[in-house]
C-alpha cells in the first residue's frame, strides 16, 4: 500500500511503471471505492501537483488541455467557451461546484464512463488524447481509446498527459446537452453533443454528433455526411431520428431503454440547433442546458 505525490512527470511515469494507479481529483476513484464499485488500488500516485499538467495551451493546430485541468477551469475558460463550447457545456454540468474544482478532464476521460459529460463534446470536436509512458508517447483518437464501460486501450503504465483539440473550421459551433432530473449532482440520463459548420448560405456544411449514456461507450453517429447541404431544421430532425435509431440504451433505475431512445433524439436535435446558432455567431451561455430546454431557468 503506497501513496506517492509525484512532483514531476517522470516521477509519475516511474510510479506507473512500478504498478501504481494515477489519481487526479479522486472524484471517481475514491467515491467509486467507497460505493464498492472497485477496491481502492493498493498503490496510488497523485498527479495533481505536476507542473504543467494543469495548463491550457494555445497551439498552431488548436488547443492542448493538460490532463489535470479541472472542470471549473474548463467551464470558465473564455477560448473554450467561445470556440470549443461543447466541452465547456459538459464540464459546467459536472456534479457541484466542489466536484468541478477537484475533478479533472483526464480523470473524466480515463474513467471511461459512457455517461461522462465531456466525452461526447470532445468527440464531435475531433479531440485526440496523448498517452505517455517512460518509453515514449502516442496519440489516440477517442474512438480508439474507449473500449467498454470503464475500459480504455491505454496500458497500465501510460498516463494521459493532454488532450489535443483542433481549431474548428470557420462558421462552426458546438454544444452539449444532457437529460437531467435535477440541476446539480446529476448524472446524464442521456446526452448529445453536436458540432455544426455552416455554409455561407446558412445551410449545414458539416455536422458531427455523439451521444452519451446510450451505448457501452460514447457513440459517434454514423451516416451524417449525406445531410450536408440541408437546412438546420432538416438536419436537426434527421439527426434526432438517427440518434434514436442508432442508440442501444439499457433500462435501469434512471430510465427505460424506450424513454432513453426517445429522449436522446430530443437532446441530439437540440444540440444541433444550439450548435448551429453558435456557428452563426450567437452567444448562448455555458452550459447550454441552462439556456434552452429542460434545465433552463424559466
Amino acid at each position: 500500500m503506497s501513496f506517492t505525490i509525484a512532483r514531476t512527470l517522470d516521477e509519475a511515469l516511474a510510479a506507473l511503471a512500478a504498478g501504481a494507479r494515477p489519481i487526479a481529483g479522486g472524484t471517481d476513484l475514491v467515491v467509486g471505492a467507497r460505493h464498492g464499485k472497485a477496491p481502492l488500488p493498493a498503490d496510488l500516485v497523485a498527479i495533481d501537483r505536476i507542473p504543467g499538467l494543469a495548463e491550457v495551451t494555445v497551439t498552431a493546430a488548436g488547443i492542448t488541455i493538460g490532463a489535470a485541468v479541472s472542470h471549473h477551469t474548463l467551464e470558465g475558460h473564455p477560448l473554450i467557451a467561445s470556440t470549443y463550447s461543447a466541452l465547456a457545456d459538459g464540464s459546467a454540468l459536472v456534479g457541484s461546484p466542489a466536484t468541478r474544482h477537484v475533478g479533472t478532464l483526464g480523470g473524466n476521460i480515463m474513467n471511461a464512463s459512457p455517461a461522462m459529460d465531456t466525452g461526447a463534446g470532445l468527440t464531435v470536436l475531433g479531440a485526440e488524447v496523448e498517452l505517455r509512458a517512460q518509453a515514449g508517447s502516442r496519440r489516440v483518437t477517442l474512438a480508439d481509446l474507449w473500449t467498454a464501460p470503464g475500459r480504455t486501450s491505454a496500458r497500465p503504465d501510460e498516463l494521459c498527459v493532454a488532450v489535443h483539440v483542433p481549431t474548428p473550421a470557420p462558421r462552426s459551433g458546438s454544444a452539449y446537452l444532457r437529460l437531467e432530473y435535477r440541476r446539480a449532482m446529476e448524472i446524464a440520463v442521456v446526452g448529445a453533443a453536436a458540432a455544426v459548420t455552416l455554409a455561407p448560405d446558412g445551410s449545414v456544411a458539416a455536422v458531427r454528433v455523439a451521444l452519451s449514456a446510450v451505448a457501452p461507450t460514447i457513440l459517434s453517429l454514423g451516416g451524417l455526411e449525406t445531410l450536408a447541404g440541408g437546412s438546420v431544421n432538416d438536419v436537426a430532425a434527421a439527426v434526432a431520428a438517427a440518434a434514436s435509431q442508432q442508440a442501444t440504451p439499457i433500462s435501469d433505475v434512471r430510465a427505460t431503454d424506450h424513454y432513453r431512445r426517445h429522449t436522446v433524439g430530443v437532446m441530439a436535435r437540440r444540440a444541433v440547433a444550439a450548435a448551429a446558432r453558435r456557428a452563426a455567431g450567437e452567444t448562448i451561455a455555458i452550459p447550454v442546458n441552462r439556456s434552452i430546454g429542460i434545465g433552463a431557468a424559466s
Binding site: 460505493h35 457541484s96 437529460l179 437531467e180 432530473y181 435535477r182 440541476r183 446539480a184 449532482m185 446529476e186 448524472i187 433505475v253 434512471r254 430510465a255 427505460t256 424513454y259 426517445h262 429522449t263 430530443v266 430546454g293 429542460i294 434545465g295 433552463a296 424559466s298
Partner: protein
C-alpha cells in the same frame, strides 16, 4: 408578561454548525471504543435454517457477537408487538438485523460480519400491499393473532391496522349527484433522507448505561432500551449531540438497544455509524406507499354530495409507529371538505418491505396529492374553476369536518385566497406553464411535556427541558417565551436539552409538537420564577406583588417606572435565600368532540386539536419533449396560528416546500421482484438540490385560535410539507391533459401520461 415584537432571531446553534465546531454523535470518541456492525438478512423473506457465529467470534479483535439468543426475549412495538431486536427465526425484510458485532476497528468488524454463517429457506416475498389483502395471500406474520397490540387496533391477517370513518349515507349521497367521478392514484414510498446518517455510542458504568444517539425522540429511545433490555428508566441515560437532520426518520426507537447490548457484552464503549446505504435500508422509517380509489359525487351547482375512498398503505415488515397511519390517512383521504355522506376505509398492510414510519406529516403529502388531484378532476367534470370549487366546498369557521368535528375559528379560506393571490392565479401564462393549487391540513398534537427554568445569582437564565432539536429551531424559540415571562431577553437564556437524565419528559422532535407542548411547559415554569421575582421586588419596592411589572431587565411598580430594581439585583438577593427555580408542565389542551361520525380503529387521530390549514399554489413549466418538469414559483399560505418567531417559521415552510417538490417529482423508492430497494443511494434517490429551489412567497394567516398552544400557536414543522406535491400535480394535469397518476411524477411517467392514448383512471 410583555411580548416581544416579531423577533427574527437566528438559531443559537447556527454558528457551531456552519463553522464545523459542532459535535455530532459520530464525532464522539471514548477510550477503548469499539466499532459496531450489523449482519443484515440480505433476503426479503426467509426462514433461518442455520445461524453460526463461531467463526466470527474467533477472529482476533472481535469482542462481541450477538443474536436474538443473547438478549431478553421481548416482542415490542408501539402499536403491535410484532418485532424483536434481532431476527427471531424468520427474516421479513432485506435489512432485518440478524446479528451484531463489536470489534476493534471497522475492517475487523466487517470481516466478522462476513464470517457469520446464515442459511435461509426462502419464503414467498410479499411485494405488493394490495395483493397482500387477498384471502389466500401468504402471511408476513403467520402468528399475527397472538401478538399483543394497543386496544383500539383492528387487525386481520396481513392487515395490521384497519380504520374507517363514516358519516351519513354514501349510497344516498351518490344517488343525489349529477356526476360521480372515480379515480385511482398510486404513491410510491420515499425516505426522510437526513444528511447525517444515524450514529449511536453506548458506554456502561456499573449497571447504568449512557447512550449518545442521533435520535429525534430521546425519551422514546430510552423507553425502547428499557423495554427490550429490561432495565428501569433511571439506569438508562440518552444524550443527543448535534442532530444532523431527521425529518421523522429518526423518530422512534431504533438501534440504541443493540449498541447498548454490544457494549455490555464487550465491556467497552461501542460506536455504530450507519453508511448512507444502511440509512436507506435499515431504519423503521420510510414514507409509506399508498394506493387510492376515490369516488366523489357532485352536483352541477358545485356541491359535493358524497365521497368514498379506499386506501391501502404499505406497512412493511413490522408495525413501528405506523399503527396510527390508517386513521390519519383516512382523514387525509377525505380532506378538509364539507361532505355530508362519506366513507373512508384504510388498511395498513404487511409486506416484505422496510417498515414504514413517521416521516414529516406521515400519510399527508401523498394523500393530499391523490385527493387534491382527484378534486381537480371533480371540479373539471362540472366545469367549475378548481379554486372556486374549493372556496365552496372547503371547511370554514363554524363548519363541520369529515369526522364530525365542529371548527372554531380557522383560516383555510384565507389561505386559499392568499395563495391564489401570491401565485397570480388566473394570469395569462406561456403555453408550457400552468399554476395548480391544493389545500392541506394537519393536526397539532396535544401531549404532556415538562421543563425547568432557573435564574442564577448573576441574573442569567437557563431552561432545562426534555425537548429535542432536529433542525427545526423550535427549541430556540422557547427562550423567547421564557424571557417574555420574566422580563429578560431571549439572549439572556441558555438551553440545556436533549438529555433524559437531566430534564423532565417531552415527546421529542416529532408531531410538530415542541412549541405547542414544551412551550406551554416553559411558560408555566417561567411563570413560577416570575412570581418569585414579583414577590422579591414587592418586598424591596414596598408594593403589592400584583402591581409589579417585569420588563426590560427590571421589575417596576405599575404606573411608576422609576420605582424599579434590576432583575439581576433580585437574582443576587435570591442567591442568598430562596433560589429562583421554576418547574412547569401545564395541562395539554383537550381533544374536541366528534359528532355524527363512526370511527372504527380509533386511535385518536380523527379529532384534531388546533388543526392547521394551508394552501399552496405552484407555477410549473413542462418540457413536452421529455416530460421534465421545472417548478418556477411556489406560494404557500398557512394557518398555523400565532407565529412566534417568523424567521424560523419561514425557514420551516421553505424547507418543507423543497421536500415537497422532491416528493412530487424525483423522490421515490422502487423495489425489484425480490423485495430489494433498487435505489438506496443518493445518486439514484434524487433529493432536490439548492440549484433546483424556486423562488417562494410565504404568508401566515394569523387568526385567534381557540384551544391552542402558547399565545395561540399551533404546530408548524409538518404542515408545509402537505400540499406542495398536490399543487404541482394540479398544474401539471393542465399541461398534460390528465393527471399523472403515480407519485413521484417522474419525467418518464409524465412523458408516458402525455403519450398514453385514452389512458384514463389507471395508474401509469
Amino acid at each position: 408578561m410583555t411580548v416581544t415584537e416579531t423577533p427574527r432571531f437566528v438559531r443559537a446553534d447556527g454558528p457551531d454548525k456552519v463553522t464545523g465546531s459542532g459535535r455530532y454523535t459520530a464525532d464522539l470518541s471514548l477510550t477503548g471504543m469499539l466499532t459496531a456492525k450489523f449482519k443484515y438478512a440480505g433476503v426479503a423473506h426467509g426462514r433461518i435454517t442455520k445461524l453460526d457465529t463461531s467463526a466470527a467470534k474467533a477472529i482476533p479483535g472481535v469482542f462481541a457477537v450477538l443474536t436474538q439468543a443473547d438478549v431478553p426475549n421481548v416482542r415490542f412495538g408501539p402499536f403491535v408487538q410484532d418485532r424483536t431486536l434481532f431476527a427471531d427465526g424468520v427474516v421479513r425484510f432485506e435489512a432485518e438485523i440478524v446479528a451484531a458485532v463489536a470489534a476493534i476497528d471497522a475492517a475487523t468488524a466487517q470481516r466478522a460480519v462476513d464470517a457469520i454463517v446464515v442459511e435461509y429457506e426462502l419464503l414467498p416475498v410479499v411485494n405488493d400491499a394490495e395483493a397482500a389483502l387477498a384471502p389466500d395471500a401468504p402471511l408476513v406474520h403467520p402468528d399475527w393473532s397472538s401478538y399483543g397490540a394497543a386496544r383500539p387496533m383492528v387487525r386481520n391477517r396481513n392487515d395490521a391496522s384497519f380504520a374507517s370513518i363514516a358519516k351519513g349515507d354514501v349510497e344516498a349521497g351518490m344517488a343525489q349527484a349529477d356526476h360521480v367521478v372515480r379515480s385511482r392514484y398510486v404513491a410510491d414510498g420515499c425516505h426522510a433522507a437526513p444528511i447525517e446518517p444515524r450514529a449511536i455510542v453506548a458506554q456502561w458504568e456499573g449497571d447504568k448505561v449512557t447512550i449518545w444517539s442521533s435520535t429525534q425522540v430521546p425519551f422514546d429511545a430510552r423507553a425502547g432500551v428499557c423495554e427490550t433490555l429490561e432495565l428501569p428508566a433511571n439506569r438508562v441515560r440518552i444524550i443527543v449531540p448535534h442532530l444532523g437532520g431527521g425529518f421523522g426518520g429518526k423518530c422512534g426507537f431504533h438501534q440504541e438497544a443493540h449498541v447498548a447490548a454490544l457494549a455490555r457484552a464487550a465491556r467497552r464503549p461501542v460506536r455504530l455509524v450507519f453508511s448512507r446505504r444502511e440509512e436507506f435500508l435499515a431504519p423503521d422509517k420510510r414514507r409509506e406507499g399508498i394506493t387510492y380509489e376515490f369516488e366523489t359525487g357532485v352536483r352541477n351547482d358545485g356541491t359535493i354530495t358524497a365521497r368514498r375512498v379506499k386506501m391501502v398503505l404499505d406497512n412493511g415488515a413490522y408495525t413501528s409507529d405506523a399503527g396510527f397511519f390508517s386513521q390519519i390517512g383516512a382523514m387525509h383521504g377525505l380532506g378538509p371538505y364539507r361532505i355530508p355522506n362519506l366513507l373512508a376505509e384504510a388498511h395498513l398492510v404487511y409486506t416484505n418491505h422496510q417498515p414504514s414510519g413517521s416521516v414529516r406529516a406521515p400519510t399527508a403529502p401523498q394523500s393530499c396529492w391523490a385527493l387534491e388531484s382527484h378534486t381537480d378532476e371533480v371540479a373539471r367534470a362540472i366545469g367549475i374553476d378548481p379554486v372556486e370549487f374549493r372556496r365552496r366546498n372547503a371547511v370554514d369557521t363554524g363548519a363541520e369536518g369529515p369526522s364530525g368535528q365542529l371548527y372554531g375559528e380557522i383560516g383555510v379560506q384565507q389561505c386559499i385566497a392568499e395563495a391564489a393571490r401570491l401565485a397570480g392565479y388566473g394570469q395569462t401564462l406561456p403555453a408550457d406553464e400552468a399554476i395548480g393549487l391544493a389545500i392541506g391540513w394537519w393536526p397539532s398534537f396535544s401531549v404532556p411535556s415538562g421543563a425547568y427554568v432557573k435564574i442564577d445569582g448573576d441574573g442569567s437564565g437557563q431552561i432545562i427541558t426534555g425537548a429535542q432539536e432536529c433542525g427545526t429551531g423550535s427549541v430556540m424559540t422557547l427562550r423567547q417565551l421564557a424571557a417574555d415571562e420574566v422580563g429578560l431577553r431571549a439572549e439572556d437564556f441558555q438551553l440545556v436539552y436533549q438529555d433524559t437524565s437531566v430534564a423532565p419528559y417531552d415527546m421529542g422532535a416529532t408531531g410538530s409538537q415542541t412549541l405547542f407542548n414544551n412551550g406551554r411547559a416553559v411558560v408555566a415554569a417561567a411563570a413560577q420564577v416570575a412570581e418569585q421575582l414579583r414577590q422579591l421586588a414587592a418586598n424591596r419596592l414596598e408594593a403589592d406583588p400584583a402591581d409589579i411589572v417585569l420588563a426590560d431587565g427590571r421589575a417596576h411598580v405599575a404606573g411608576t417606572p422609576d420605582r424599579s430594581v434590576t432583575i439581576a439585583k433580585l437574582a443576587a438577593i435570591a442567591a442568598g435565600g430562596e433560589l429562583l427555580i421554576g418547574h412547569g408542565s401545564g395541562a395539554p389542551p383537550e381533544a374536541p368532540a366528534l359528532v355524527g361520525s363512526t370511527c372504527v380503529g380509533n386511535v385518536g387521530m380523527a379529532a384534531w386539536v388546533a388543526p392547521q390549514f394551508s394552501c399552496h399554489a405552484v407555477r410549473v413549466k413542462l418540457d413536452r419533449d421529455t416530460g421534465v418538469v421545472r417548478v418556477l414559483h411556489v406560494a404557500a399560505a398557512h394557518d398555523s396560528g400565532t407565529i412566534i418567531n417568523p424567521l424560523a417559521a419561514e425557514g420551516q415552510v421553505q424547507g418543507a416546500v423543497i421536500m415537497g417538490i422532491g416528493q412530487a417529482l424525483t423522490e421515490g423508492t422502487t423495489y425489484d421482484d425480490a423485495g430489494h430497494q433498487r435505489n438506496a443511494a443518493l445518486l439514484e434517490y434524487k433529493l432536490q438540490t439548492c440549484a433546483d429551489v424556486p423562488p417562494m412567497a410565504v404568508h401566515f394567516v394569523q387568526i385567534n385560535t381557540p384551544n391552542a398552544g402558547p399565545r395561540g400557536a399551533k404546530g408548524l414543522a409538518e404542515a408545509p410539507n402537505v400540499a406542495t406535491a398536490a399543487a404541482i400535480s394540479n398544474a401539471l394535469a393542465q399541461l398534460v391533459g390528465q393527471p399523472v397518476r403515480q407519485l413521484p411524477m417522474t419525467a418518464e411517467r409524465v412523458w408516458n401520461a402525455m403519450n398514453a392514448t385514452g389512458a384514463q383512471g389507471g395508474a401509469a
